[in-house]
Symmetry: C2
Subunit: 191 residues, 2 copies
């Protein structure tokens, strides 16, 4: 059974983060929200307080198959200041495990040099911060599974209005395209 | 200054509810999340705990210009069992004030007979519960401002994947079309 972790930092974009949780749970996937702070209560970028399932200090990154970063300007800055999380991102990239990021959050991966030569998207205007990436500007979400199992694997999304595309791209990898299609059909493609 | 209230009941669809809050606050509108329960912490339909700004017992409905109901099957059932809320909905309808509902929640208005002869949408398959309404099945959201200022005013949405359409329809009325367009452009229409 796959297990995913979505990281919540003060100022995270609520819809970008929670749509992933919503869609993944609709697909039957196990996903934990993880606060990077000392407490489980995290305030989003639009003033919505959300309680995380777990706290970063108490988790083992090895329990997870994917690490996911929502955007929001301040949320992204807070994620980028979190050294244990950045260590884990580096480790996941080297192990060929999936990393997800949407909106401003792909810039964290860009600054770390993880996206060189890799396909990615981000919030329009931030492309120059995805160092060396092959940028896609028309897609809501971009999946780059790498060339083999040791390559880092990335799913990136453009922003809040493309949260469902980003979430379904994650669900497609971990729950399979058929399940993702069924759930997508139920929430977006009504006919 | 307009003030909006979005009601949270156990089992509310997180994205349907929180997208309205997110988009309205991006538009500079004042919107409170209001728990219909005794406590402020409310668990959504996909297991996400959210803390509401207010508790129904402590608010005065007269302070608000619009009442908004997110969907989610259990959330909608819980909202429909909340008598003070239903009294307020009736009152708002008679006063010509705005009511919003998305996904399964428009059925509450349908069961109360408030939608007779009025334009509305809802989650596909529930149309027969919008008693006497003129149903729109292709729109993400439908605004029916009524014929004059004493007519009830409704904004209804189809479901989770159309939450942004629903939220922007609300923002269009209360923040104006220009502001709603700017915010919509920033989150969805990137070019």
């Amino acid at each position: 059974m796959h297990k995913l972790a979505l990281f919540l930092a003060e100022g995270f974009e609520e819809i970008e983060g929670l749509t992933v949780v919503d869609v993944c749970r609709r697909c039957g996937l196990e996903i934990d929200t993880v606060s990077i702070h000392d407490g489980a209560d995290v305030l989003g970028s639009h003033g919505i307080p959300v309680r995380a399932d777990r706290i970063l200090k108490e988790i083992s990154f090895d329990d997870y198959d994917m690490l996911i970063l929502p955007g929001g300007k301040k949320g992204t800055e807070n994620l980028e200041r979190c050294e244990p999380l950045k260590e884990a991102l580096k480790h996941f990239a080297h192990e060929g495990k999936y990393i997800g990021a949407i909106c401003a959050a792909p810039t964290i991966l860009g600054h770390m040099g993880l996206l060189r030569g890799r396909k990615a998207t981000c919030y329009p205007g931030l492309e120059h911060e995805l160092e060396g990436a092959i940028i896609f500007t028309d897609n809501g979400a971009v999946t780059d599974p790498g060339g083999d199992k040791y390559d880092a694997k990335f799913i990136t999304g453009r922003g809040m209005g493309k949260s469902i595309d980003f979430a379904l791209a994650i669900a497609t990898v971990f729950a399979g395209p058929e399940k993702a299609y069924q759930v997508g059909k139920a929430i977006v493609y009504y006919d």
